[in-house]
Symmetry: C2
């Protein structure tokens, strides 16, 4: 019998449709090996092909936009938003618009064209999170900006247009609807119980263990109760905190460990699947400290997309999260 499950935060219902008789192993990917591209704009030696860098980590020093970096942040060459100009809001009859002030940046995670995030040393992955933090701390000084969206598209099926591994940052003058809905759900729970709903979820999941994929002293990785996608995994800090960028050094170290472990489990069991991940963190200038809990949601892109899901926010998932978690726990990593 299929089952309907409700996400306790945003109220989204998901059909867990096991009768479609998919086994976890049915989702294993067979991908062609990455092709080195001599003309890749994100590769070392091609620094001039991107706009001038905003940030780079160079262990041995060196001048900007030269060789020797281990991580590099550059403006998107085809930005969805522009950093220059005053924010201009306007009503047009019934409608509202504003000009597209914001930022759109690319975080080049490694100089190695063929490296994947799952294959990076933990220390290097930690640097990726430090780069996210550094960019958020810099951009949050800009009062025009209200939300910073950090995400990664890995693999063509997940929307990546460049093969060289990179994440993206979009800084927005508005807070996206889904973030508002998530925050509203958290606020509601806090009003009722004076507790953070994510803290409650973490407590219940660690006790149950059925949906736990991995755990260390600071973080837990779980298959959420009402996942939209097969093998969806959320990585949550055990200690309550609303702002990713306010995390401590020991937390970034622990995050790199559990994140690397989770990605390697997905890689091993599903054959390096395409995925997206999204950093869920508090809007920049809102008071969310008591009730909002930052985390990262990883969504493998494995099913043939029923396009209507975009329009309805309604999901059908053939793999129960308990089964997905057990499958990922079995990985030898």
């Amino acid at each position: 019998m299929p089952e309907l499950r409700r996400d306790p935060i945003v109220g989204r219902w998901v059909i867990i449709s096991t009768d479609r008789a998919h086994r976890p192993t049915d989702f294993r990917q067979v991908l062609p090996p990455a092709q080195a591209q001599p003309l890749c704009p994100l590769c070392p030696g091609n620094e001039a092909q991107t706009p001038p860098e905003i940030l780079a980590y160079r262990a041995n020093g060196g001048s900007p936009n030269s060789l020797g970096w281990s991580l590099r942040v550059v403006p998107n060459k085809f930005p969805a938003l522009q950093i220059e100009g005053e924010l201009d809001r306007e009503g047009v009859g019934l409608y509202d618009r504003m000009n597209g002030v914001g930022a759109h940046e690319v975080i080049v995670e490694s100089p190695d064209h063929k490296a994947s995030l799952a294959g990076l040393p933990e220390k290097h992955l930690e640097d990726v999170f430090w780069a996210y933090r550094d960019r958020i701390l810099d951009l949050r000084k800009d009062n025009r900006l209200r939300y910073i969206l950090i995400f990664k598209n890995h693999g063509a099926a997940a929307g990546a247009t460049l093969e060289h591994s990179h994440s993206q940052l979009i800084a927005l003058p508005i807070v996206p609807t889904n973030v508002l809905n998530e925050i509203a759900g958290c606020r509601e729970h806090f009003k009722d119980k004076e507790r953070c709903i994510y803290c409650d979820i973490i407590r219940q999941e660690i006790e149950d263990r059925d949906r736990v994929v991995g755990e260390n002293a600071e973080f837990v990785a779980i298959a959420p109760y009402a996942p939209r996608f097969p093998f969806e995994v959320w990585v949550l800090p055990k200690k309550h905190g609303s702002f990713f960028e306010e995390s401590q050094k020991f937390q970034f170290e622990a995050l790199a460990r559990i994140f690397s472990d989770t990605l390697r489990r997905l890689d091993r069991m599903l054959g390096s699947p395409p995925y997206n991940f999204i950093l869920h963190t508090s809007p920049l200038h809102e008071r969310t400290s008591e009730f909002y809990h930052w985390h990262i949601e990883i969504m493998p892109k494995l099913t043939h997309v029923a396009g209507f899901e975009w329009g309805t926010g309604f999901y059908i998932n053939p793999i129960p999260p308990e089964e997905a978690a057990a499958f990922l726990r079995d990985a030898e990593v």
Copy 2:
């Protein structure tokens, strides 16, 4: 300069990112011709390959599950939900679940394997809408059901797994979040102004004309102000009504005319693009008559999907709707 636009109903902001320099003609599809499949379960002669039919139109009569039909509705062979059983709701700690009672049906729009909805005679397309209505009227008698979702995936890129043209119906014991959000937006506007927001939009769009794609006495087709996708088109009845299934015969006739015209414009100008459409109609047993306005949203699936859009509800669209509407108005159909 890119522009941010807000959907006045659900509050969703969209980036209209013209700086990415796409021309409407860049989106033209080149598709391989459809292959006839002798084993297609939706083709005439293969009636026994589907579960027994629920409804069929046979102009010259004939027995169920035999040849001679022009349109046929059958249960999905791999249903996401099942019609048998009592609705059983349960709390699991923090979480809520219920068993997957509902219906999942396939509307086979034509016996012709190679026919597309855009190519059907208007009279036949009208029958498709009558079939939607007939199924809704039948299923709404079932008190366990609260929402009926009717949609179409056209083309593999839009999630169609069978080539033979068909729509789908999913009857649910819950109302999906996005429907709730849409209704909340409409209710809010009504509380403020005592007017339907869609009626206000229709009035403004018909006056402006910039975003009008087509129009007849009963319907208007517009590119919405804040479209998620390039060439997204909404078809709205001019006369206020909340329930699709309560439309009159002359309305179904006019709907078939404008819908056929719209699909042919998309086909002509974009090379038979993959698309999804979703019927937006009122939940079955809610009092929405004053403020909710049924309509159909058509979403061509033309851009390489940035997968994070699923997770964020945040969209970047390279084509302003004014440009899309002008482009589609130019089609010779």
